[in-house]
Amino acid sequence: MAILVIAEHDNSTLKGATLNAVTAATQMGGDVHLLVAGANCGAVAEAGAAVAGINKLLVADNAAYEHQLAENLSKLVTEVAEDYSHVVAPATTTGKNFLPRVAALLDVAQISDITAVESENTFQRPIYAGNAIATVESLDPVKVITVRGTAFDAAAAEGGSATVETLDAVHDAGVSSFVGEEMAKSDRPELTAANVIISGGRGMGNGENFAMLEKIADKLGAAVGASRAAVDAGFVPNDMQVGQTGKIVAPELYIAVGISGAIQHLAGMKDSKIIVAINKDEEAPIFSVADYGLVADLFDAVPELEKLL
């Protein structure tokens, strides 16, 4: 039996999270097929067919799938899933939205947010905000799984030569429609894809002070993040939030500025390779996970850091 991975994309580019999910899928054993469902998504299908490790690419190109509406997409995936042992999607807001619907329609469990593949039916996943790791065995004939991207390396985007099959099935449930979206625009890398992240917390005092972090980010090619406290205080928008309920990140370097280190925040960044903490409270819990801690007033230390970079 083969493994079906559902591609994450915006109809023009294949999102990086797909490549991490493909790596997880290859560890489950068997051929890996990739489904691209979208509208006018030919470029994505082409990119998907080139991904190393993909044997077959399925493409469903129809207006019903343009915005990845869960009601429509879940019906398509459920129909396709019949021939597969595993259905896998990245644990992004898109994957988390439609895949549980697929599981319910197939009358099976979904194993969410896996961080390791132990065998074809046994997986590890964090529970309690990452304070415990559960090893879970699936008893279902079809395993429906979302994959935490930071736990798996990305598959090579080039080198594959999948055969392409077009699906004509159109599932339009007709009960939901896309109204609009407001996407943050930034020249900096996306949080979940960045090699370096600099994040600010409540200690930043206000949103304007995040400009100090942006200057450093521009020098390091970094993304700018925030703690939930900074988002709740209205300093910065919610899509910058790193933590259990925000984005889960694992960059090479994570710089936490004015962040105390609530469990909630640590759950989102503690798998980073190197963690730096700058905080004036030397008792702050963030220092217990930091490789390098600097006890200092951020309003002195951050400008100085920028000068030295």
Partner: protein
């Protein structure tokens, strides 16, 4: 319109959970339990719809042992009108929960169902979506704004990279994200009043649902501990370490 809200009894979010020494599960003995924070936001949203005159009744459902009546009472103190407990010995898996709730929906016929996007114990983020599939309803997950407009509900969703708004035909299912609202505190008179509000107890058999295990928990282990590193004395030293020791800049 009737609004159905679901609530789960979970470990209090301020408590750091510990893994049992035999690695069979986490240790919940004598741990403070509370209403799941996302469920609390769901209750608040439903109560606000009632206060705005959009909803005329708020029904709250919880599934679990008798102790979960405490969380139903909390929701009633926040303003829900009546409660339903589906008594089970342990919390069923998400799919089982969705099957039980689908039967409740069949009986209650709500116009809107509001649920938390995830419970902070199992962190699955799936029950609302599964329930939507089983009842063939549209879903607005990770909601930061809910606006009812005639027979439709517009839901603004927190998605990677920003916000997305979808229009759903009602009845629909909404799952809450953190910024949807700030839940109120229950007043003492309302806590007293909640004790007299109706609370029905049903069993899965009453609803005609047979619960089945789809997964097996093999073990639970603590996460790899991260060791605290060193304190540096100055920004100079920090930059030097990052360049020459960690080699990340």
């Amino acid at each position: 319109m009737k609004v159905l809200v679901t609530v789960k009894r979970v470990i209090d979010y301020n408590v750091k959970v510990r893994v049992k020494s035999d690695n069979t599960d986490v240790d919940l003995a004598n741990v403070k339990m509370a209403l799941n924070p996302f469920c609390e936001i769901a209750v608040e949203e439903a109560v606000r719809l009632k206060e705005a005159g959009t909803a005329d009744e708020v029904v709250v459902v919880s599934i679990g042992p008798k102790a979960c009546q405490e969380q139903i009472r909390t929701a009633l103190a926040l303003g829900a009108d009546r409660g339903i407990q589906i008594e089970t010995e342990e919390a069923p898996e998400s799919l089982g929960v969705a099957k039980l709730l689908a039967k409740v929906i069949e009986e209650e016929q709500p116009g809107l169902v509001i649920m938390g996007k995830q419970a902070i114990d199992s962190d699955n983020n799936q029950t609302g979506q599964m329930l939507a599939a089983l009842t063939d309803m549209p879903q607005g997950t990770f909601a930061s704004e809910v606006k009812i407009d005639g027979d439709n509900v517009n839901v603004t969703r927190e998605v990677d990279g920003g916000l997305q708004t979808v229009a759903l035909n009602m009845p629909a299912i909404v799952t809450t994200d953190l910024r949807l609202n700030e839940p109120r505190y229950a007043s003492l008179p309302n806590i007293m009043k909640a004790k007299r509000k109706p609370l029905d107890v049903k069993s899965p058999a009453d609803l005609g649902v047979e619960l089945k295990a789809h997964t097996k928990l093999l073990k639970v282990t603590p996460p790899a501990e991260r060791q605290a590193g060193i304190k540096v004395a100055s920004v100079d030293e920090l930059v030097e370490k990052l360049k020459n020791e960690a080699k990340v800049i």
